[in-house]
């Protein structure tokens, strides 16, 4: 194994720029990867299963025995917007105090639905669980940047967050939080 790994890690293809960021992140890659990469705090982990389902990967329930088609089919207009909305929400979670958020979302969920049949009730229960769990999510970008030995340069952060250079131009002198948000919303963040 040692010889094989050595050969693998020293091969040109392993280090080639062309092979970096050449795959689309699956919903699980994206959601779990984001939560771990930004050290996101959360309460109810079912939240993330609900999000991957929205993004087209309902855990343990592939569309058929062949599994998910994967690759580029993960991304269509609907799932791309849902991916960006999820990331946008995570970063918003830092801006608002927790109680306000939860109360606001729950009210919105109540307004959405006043039907009372079983299916609607189940949907509403799921929505409320989602909203409550989302309210418990914390993303602390200051704590995140303290993990670095010295305050990281912008380029250094880009390399940590993205598998390839960002597509959109990134302004200089952004706050760490704003920089991370822009990088996570960059098209390159969808790749691994």
């Amino acid at each position: 194994v040692k010889t094989a790994l050595r050969g693998l890690f020293l091969s040109e293809a392993f280090w080639a720029q062309a092979n970096r960021g050449a795959l689309v992140k699956s919903p699980v890659d994206l959601v779990v990867g984001t939560v771990r990469q930004f050290d996101v705090e959360y309460g109810d982990p079912a939240l993330f299963a609900m999000v991957t389902a929205q993004l087209g990967q309902n855990l343990f329930s592939p569309p058929n025995v062949r599994g998910w088609p994967g690759g580029e089919t993960w991304i269509n207009s609907s799932t791309l917007l849902a991916r960006k909305t999820f990331i946008d929400r995570l970063f918003r979670a830092e801006e608002m105090p927790r109680m306000t958020r939860t109360a606001m979302h729950l009210q919105a969920a109540k307004d959405d639905s006043d039907a009372n049949d079983g299916i609607e009730r189940a949907k509403r229960a799921a929505r409320e669980r989602f909203v409550r769990a989302m309210g418990d999510v914390r993303l602390d970008t200051n704590r995140w940047s303290r993990e670095f030995a010295a305050p990281p340069a912008q380029v250094e952060i880009e390399r940590v967050v993205l598998a390839q250079a960002p597509v959109n131009p990134i302004a200089a002198d952004l706050s760490t939080r704003e920089l991370l948000k822009q990088l996570a919303l960059d098209p390159a963040y969808q790749l691994k």
């Binding site: 960021g21 050449a22 690759g71 991304i75 791309l80 390839q164 597509v167 098209p187 969808q190």
Partner: protein, 384 residues
């Protein structure tokens, strides 16, 4: 001159312009003609939708769930519609509703996933194709760039017939919500590997559609409540946008009626019928009903024999609807041959790709062989 350009010139046309509009609409083929596909997801029970009410075998096979003879909406001496489809009767009487019976394909597959894949890609039963049949048609004959998108998918995340092959397909639930969400999408002109190129293309498609779709046309039409009514409202908003789309796919979920079918099916057909009625009314307001072709589809019909749970199991051939201002109403295809079942299922009489050929060749002027692999004869359901 293209009809679309003509409409642009006339702009907010007065009623006086309606006559020439109609005259042009009648002869045009091309993407000025809108295709609306309605997916009856789960496999609609054709026999309880278009009911062979005079056939004693029908009542014998379905002792508990047959639609009673006195309840059907009679179309002729032996065929009638489910009573929940009352909203379709004005369309039938106006002779704008074609009902095609016995739609299916050889060697039918009874799995939801595989059979809808066959329908979505327009493949043979034993053939696996990667791209949707509409995506292939748009690759052969591209939709003009000025359109907001090639097609819009409403009420489903799955792009179905619009999947793959570079089609500019937008999935949305609600135009206003889409416009809000799309603010975080930006078109960028950058190059990269194929994965990045795909992400950038989708992002650009979203941004273009968001920029060109209109979300606030005020319709006089009352849209029925419920998810399908909302989907129809969204479809009407998309069509109201000046830059438009070539195809819209709507999905109505829940037709997999294995258990306690009668109430569930009645509710679904009511949503479907009222939704289609509202669609006609809204498109007529826009002057688009004569340039719209609506077609239903589903992965399969259901077994003629009811099951032990007051429902029906996966079957084969089924009845489908084709509607529009230029449709020649009436019954087409073959009435169910209930005394000649094959393994307990209906034999098909009309290949589903003939329905697709009607849209491709007669409606858009796109050669069918390029999108379907071989030529299928269109159904003669359009007025000349």
């Amino acid at each position: 001159m293209q009809r679309r350009d003509f409409l642009k010139l006339t702009g907010a046309a007065s009623v006086a312009f309606l006559a020439p509009r109609l005259a042009l609409a009648r002869t045009a083929t091309g993407y000025e003609n809108l295709l609306v596909l309605v997916e009856l997801k789960g496999g609609n029970d054709g026999l309880n939708t278009v009911v062979p009410y005079a056939d004693p075998t029908y009542h014998a096979l379905r002792r508990r769930i047959a639609i009673k003879r006195e309840e059907v909406l009679q179309l002729d001496g032996r065929t009638g519609l489910h009573p929940s489809l009352a909203a379709l009767m004005p369309m039938w009487q106006a002779r704008e509703l074609a009902i095609v019976q016995g739609v299916g394909y050889p060697h039918p597959n009874l799995s939801h996933f595989r059979s809808i894949e066959i329908w979505d890609t327009g493949s043979k039963s034993e053939q696996y194709l990667a791209d949707g049949w509409l995506a292939r048609a748009f690759a052969t004959r591209p939709v003009p760039q000025r359109y907001a998108a090639d097609g819009v998918v409403i009420g489903s995340q799955d792009l179905g017939p619009l999947a793959g092959n570079g089609a500019r397909a937008i999935a949305l639930a609600d135009t206003a919500q889409f416009e809000r969400q799309a603010r975080i999408a930006h078109p960028v002109h950058a190059r990269g590997n194929s994965a990045l190129a795909h992400v950038l293309k989708v992002e650009a498609d979203v941004a273009q559609a968001a920029a060109r779709l209109d979300a606030d046309h005020a319709f006089r039409t009352q849209f029925p409540p419920g998810p399908f009514g909302n989907a129809v409202r969204t479809a009407a908003q998309v069509v109201a946008s000046p830059s438009g789309v070539a195809a819209v796919r709507l999905t109505l979920n829940g037709f997999d009626t294995h258990v306690n079918q009668p109430a569930i099916h009645a509710n679904l057909l009511k949503q479907f019928g009222e939704g289609l009625g509202a669609l006609k009314s809204a498109l007529a307001e826009l002057g688009r009903w004569d340039s719209t072709l609506v077609m239903t589809y589903a992965e399969f019909g259901r077994r003629p024999h009811e099951n032990g749970s007051n429902g029906t199991d996966h079957g084969t051939a089924s009845a489908h609807f084709v509607a529009g201002g230029r449709v020649r109403g009436g019954l087409y295809g073959q009435a169910p041959q209930l005394d000649r079942l094959q393994n307990g299922n209906l034999a098909y009489a009309v290949d589903f790709r003939s329905l697709y050929a009607t849209a491709l060749e007669s409606w858009w002027g796109v050669p069918t062989a390029s999108a379907l692999g071989e030529r299928f004869a269109p159904l003669d359901v359009l007025r000349a």
